[in-house]
Symmetry: C2
Subunit: 334 residues, 2 copies
Amino acid sequence: MFPTIERPTSIDVARCAGVSQSTVSLVLSGKAPGRVSEATAERVRECARELGYRPNVAAQALRLGASRAVALLVPDMTNPFFSRVLRGAQRAAAEAGYIVILVDTQNDRHWESQSFEALRAGPVDGYLLFEVTAPEALGPDENVVLMETEAPGRPSVRFDGEAGAAAAFDHLVELGHARIGHLAAAFRALTFEDREKARRRVLSAAGIDPEAQPRVMTPITIEDARVNGLRLLDERPTAVFCDDDVIAAGLYLAARDRGVRIPDDVSVVGFDDMDFARVLSPPLTTVALDAELLGSRSFELLEQRMSGRRTRKRVVLPAELLVRGSTAKCRAGT
Amino acid sequence: MFPTIERPTSIDVARCAGVSQSTVSLVLSGKAPGRVSEATAERVRECARELGYRPNVAAQALRLGASRAVALLVPDMTNPFFSRVLRGAQRAAAEAGYIVILVDTQNDRHWESQSFEALRAGPVDGYLLFEVTAPEALGPDENVVLMETEAPGRPSVRFDGEAGAAAAFDHLVELGHARIGHLAAAFRALTFEDREKARRRVLSAAGIDPEAQPRVMTPITIEDARVNGLRLLDERPTAVFCDDDVIAAGLYLAARDRGVRIPDDVSVVGFDDMDFARVLSPPLTTVALDAELLGSRSFELLEQRMSGRRTRKRVVLPAELLVRGSTAKCRAGT
DNA sequence: GTATGAGCATACTACGTATGACTACCCCGG
DNA sequence: CCGGGGTAGTCATACGTAGTATGCTCATAC
């Protein structure tokens, strides 16, 4: 219909090499040894190269019932953290001959389920789901790996966010802070629950009442975080733990608005160690996560499932506190 | 082979509705009017809904020779600019019933051509190429839209980067700067050539010799830009134009290292208006580009081509200078 | 001279869909 | 009673590949 480029098929290759299409298929899919003579095989390969033959993936997918593509669903591609996840997944996938189809759900339930439906139509063999709420919609036999969340019977990969957050709060406590605010992500996810859990645990252990600490929720956006950060600063914390570097960036703006100095008047800790964290003034103390590793490990797990192994492994990756310039000894007494 | 989920086919739907597979296809692809009675059509739709039927895209792709997927090649997904491009493209594509397959070439020629080859195998109907060097490899009939670059006979979409850069240099000149450095991207692309062109033009017009101004090239990475920024600062410019916000971020670090104050000692201008630009201290003056628009307009052009129109339109999008806190009157004299 | 088997290659089919060609039926006018 | 024309739907096929069942050829063994 459209003047699409005519690409050579295995039949063209067969004609060129003077053999049948079957033989071509045999040779090119590596099943030749013992079935086709080496001389013929070489001739076929030669022709294929010459004609620039590439198997038609649609036909392959139809025939094999598998497309060698996986979907990666992330909530917000504007957040560079996910670019790194994608990069890791893409690298691992490419090595295994897979393509990654990225779906940016933009934190939009409607859009999420819509694109999800589109994907279920068959173009992908498996799913890498980042904190997505859909897993119940999938049959228990689907090839799925959960990222940064967990569900019964599903393999998953996540960071030890609780340990990371605990390290951050420990750090603040050691610096002598006793009024520690929490600028929290208004996003229901296991990750953030972990951080909250760590907060309660560490503060309680230090004799600080977690309930009495100022705590404000905010959408994960610089501007939202700025606005909500202003409210938090009004409660006069001497330190603030932010659920995310983006949120921390918003808090920096709020501090500037209020004339509050970091770290002199208030210490700030972020989470994720995004590229811009060290560029901020002062450089942001944050919990570093290897996002690329998350992506690649997740794909590896998915691949295991796709090749038939019914793994349910739950991988936990380390999270490490990076102390930079945004945290300092508490001077509330002075 | 693998226990893949068994999905219902159009034959199942046909059986359920008591009609032939052809009829199902007719109804579901909207070709029913005049061929199938409304009563039957409704029955078919009912069955399809009940069985949860979704057409097999692999089979469709094979039959139609089109996959309703397009590829978007970008050089570095870690750069949030491209996330926004993707978002725009994805939105426009979804509206037209297309899927966007993202390929992050990571500025790696080898990887670029490799993934490119993988794509040419047939899974996509068209390409959105961002400053990619491959266009010669594609036949003149391929469905391609170039982003931020141009080539004879190809449709393209780009920003008026020259106007944007000119506005930035005008701004610096008006502030009284006469020694204006250029921290330039070490990346051969039309975009950056445009900026360089604007620099020469504006400076010459202002009676400043462009050749005499300090100019340093740097890879587009915060750390690289920091190192090269140090070298540039050693030449004592009173203002610096950075080819990119990421580069500007690196220059901020360099300035901090050297104890050079922004904008008091040196004014800084960036390019792109990334999210973090306004969070920097001081907020970065930069040239704003609507990346999402770039993505959506590009897809629209591509769609025109894919539906047979042989358009070669060249779209130019505006670029606008955003003056914030990183630029100030030159105080070199004091 | 024929049975045996290895080695090599081919014929054919299925995967699920879209669609042009075709048929069966009914109604109506002549 | 027949032909024309519209309506409602079916048949058959092709898309390109993978792989199973099959066939052919030749050499060796009895």
